[in-house]
């Protein structure tokens, strides 16, 4: 029997004013797994992340859909219950550690505040816990560092402090929105290793939001590829990288130059994806159609749903590239 998923997002529609940022998104996350949400700017991944904690800015609205966390619909909770959830059962790590930390407070109070807003314990006990947390995220000399200000820490360390705050109350779901984009590549590896380690230690579900397919192939269990507010493809990581089906997924994989490849400018051009993201704005059908080499007329009018393709776990929103035996299912 399939264990009930930790997070079950269904038919999510998010708008900012008149613009639709997310148009009908479904995905699930199971306990203890890392799901990567991949896409470029404007695909709706950050809006999705914020909506999970109901942290959308005033201009943003969830127009339709449900977000079930352990069977409770987050969108229907009262604000008071929401506050208990944030930082408690569901936690988030953001991209910019420089601006996410309060620069006029030392690290200690920021962590203990996070702890004490969910647990009634004394300041002394909270401080001891904070030092433990700093150890957990591998900050050397935690008992000394706890009294330092954010500006005396490096970017990688600040991000670790953010992670410490996020896991302080043992969340069951951790959302990491581009957690390493602002960090150097040698530090990225350290931070992701830490997140993965914590995921296993605390049996958390990890939602990893990123635009970097390399990170996805190294750290994710399952992948959802987004474009123009919709899901184009979803698959376990091995399946996605072995046989990507959606033209956007394939384009994305082909166009970033890889260390493993021998492609050199003298002997070949980089494969391109023509056009730009802006073209997805008002398209009635598949948002990728304006840039897609295999687009048919029907693609511009009919919005494709994600359907199983081959593998049961491999979903594809593209009638043109569906494997032959399932082409009939799209009609």
């Amino acid at each position: 029997m399939m264990p009930q998923p930790l997070l079950d997002v269904r038919d999510l529609f998010i708008s900012f004013g008149d613009t639709a940022a997310v148009r009908g998104l479904d995905f699930t996350i199971r306990r203890g797994e890392t799901l990567a949400l991949v896409g470029e700017s404007g695909c709706g991944k950050s809006a999705t992340a914020l909506s999970l904690l109901r942290l959308l800015p005033p201009a943003g609205r969830v127009v339709r859909g449900s977000i079930l966390f352990e069977d409770r619909d987050i969108l229907r909770l009262r604000e008071k219950e929401m506050r208990r959830l944030r930082g408690g059962a569901i936690s988030m790590v953001f991209q910019e550690p420089m601006t996410s930390l309060n620069s006029v407070l030392t690290i200690g109070p920021q962590i203990t505040e996070a702890i004490r807003s969910h647990d009634r314990i004394s300041a002394r006990v909270a401080r001891a816990r904070a030092i433990e947390l700093l150890d957990l995220v591998r900050i050397p000399e935690a008992h000394r560092r706890i009294d330092e200000y954010p500006h005396s820490l490096s970017g990688g360390m600040r991000q670790r402090v953010m992670i410490a705050m996020a896991v302080a109350c043992r969340p069951r779901l951790l959302i990491a929105d581009e957690p390493t984009t602002a960090l150097d590549v040698t530090i990225q590896a350290q931070v992701l290793e830490l997140l993965d380690h914590l995921r296993r230690d605390l049996s958390m579900g990890l939602l990893l939001i990123t635009h970097d397919l390399g990170l996805v192939s190294d750290w994710a269990d399952r992948v959802v590829v987004m474009y123009g507010g919709r899901k184009c493809e979803e698959a376990p990581v091995e399946t996605l990288f072995r046989s990507p089906l959606h033209p956007y997924t394939r384009g994305l994989m082909a166009c970033s130059p890889k260390l493993a490849s021998d492609l050199f400018f003298r002997n070949g051009r980089l494969p391109e994806v023509s056009g730009s993201v802006a073209s997805a704005a008002d398209v009635a059908g598949c948002p990728f159609a304006p840039r897609c080499a295999s687009a048919l007329d029907s693609c511009r009018n009919v919005r494709p749903d994600a359907k199983p393709a081959g593998h049961r776990d491999h979903l594809l929103a593209c009638p043109v590239h569906a494997p032959a035996e399932h082409a009939l299912a799209f009609g």
Binding site: F16, G17, D18, T19, A278, A281
Partner: protein, 280 residues
């Protein structure tokens, strides 16, 4: 895609800004039309003294202690206020912008020297300095305009300097330097167009301050003796506050309305030009 909202459109959508602008336009209209509406010298004695407002249809706002038409005085006074207010602000903005831009862009010793200069001017109580400058010369529209302008430039100068200091580090300025542009071209054609927002906002406040300074001068009898201004009317009505208080109150109200309208316009401009107010 959220369409870009132009500052003008944003300003016009702001009710207080529009209200302020309407009053201001009324004042300016009065100033421009004064010679048409009231062709005679407002200092002429035209009727008996102390006619109260709304008593006589020919003189809707009454007459003063010498039988002069109060309404004519107010409309001509608007002319003086508007002229001196705007002209002195132009002087102040031009000097302030030149000094601030030079200090902000070049930095180093030039900046040090110019900042000292601004500080020197700012250590004087502004109004006293105006009185001193006007007393040294003959009080006339030109000297009053210059004096007020000279006192107002340091505020603009500091503002412009701050803008230039931050903008000069931007990549597009670096690109301009890389292309071999001269300092003058960079200051005036590259940076200045991007520094106008705070200047525009401060301008309206500067005009308001100038009008108040001018009124204070003429209240004290130090203004141009050949002109009627709101300050001089208030000064003249000072002795009749108990009996004919309208003589001070009416020009006072005109003054308050003008200054208020400028402040409202300034607020409206600030909201319209402040990037955070614009949708992203």
């Amino acid at each position: 895609m959220i369409p870009r909202r132009t500052p003008l459109a944003l300003f016009l959508r702001n009710p207080t800004g529009v209200a302020g602008l309407s009053i201001l336009l009324l004042v300016i209209a009065g100033a421009l039309l004064a010679p048409v509406l009231f062709p005679d010298d407002p200092l002429d004695m035209v009727t008996r003294p102390f006619v109260w407002p709304l008593q006589d249809a020919a003189y809707p706002l009454g007459s003063d202690s010498l039988g002069r038409d109060v309404l004519a005085g107010i409309v001509h006074g608007a002319r003086v206020s508007v002229l001196i207010g705007f002209a002195s602000t132009v002087v102040g903005v031009v000097i302030g912008t030149l000094v601030g831009a030079t200090a902000g862009y070049f930095g180093g010793r030039t900046d040090d020297a110019l900042v000292r200069l601004m500080e020197v001017f700012q250590t004087f109580p502004p109004f006293l300095l105006i009185i001193v400058l006007v007393s040294i010369t003959e009080p006339s529209v030109a000297t009053i305009t210059l004096s007020i302008g000279i006192v107002s430039w340091p505020t603009i100068g500091r503002l412009v300097r701050a803008e230039f200091r931050s903008l000069r580090e931007r990549d597009f300025v670096l690109a301009a330097r890389g292309l071999g542009y001269s300092a003058a071209r960079i200051v005036f054609l590259e940076i200045l167009p991007n520094a106008t927002a705070p200047i525009v906002v401060t301008t309206s406040v500067t005009v308001a301050t100038a009008i108040l300074n001018e009124s204070a001068l003429s209240f004290l009898g130090l203004g141009d003796p050949n002109l009627v201004s709101w300050g001089s009317m208030i000064g003249a009505g000072r002795d009749q506050l108990r009996t004919a208080w309208y003589l001070a109150a009416l020009p006072g109200a005109a003054l308050v309305l003008s200054v208020l309208s400028l402040n409202l316009v300034g607020d409206g401009l600030n909201d319209a030009l402040n990037p955070r107010a614009r949708g992203r």
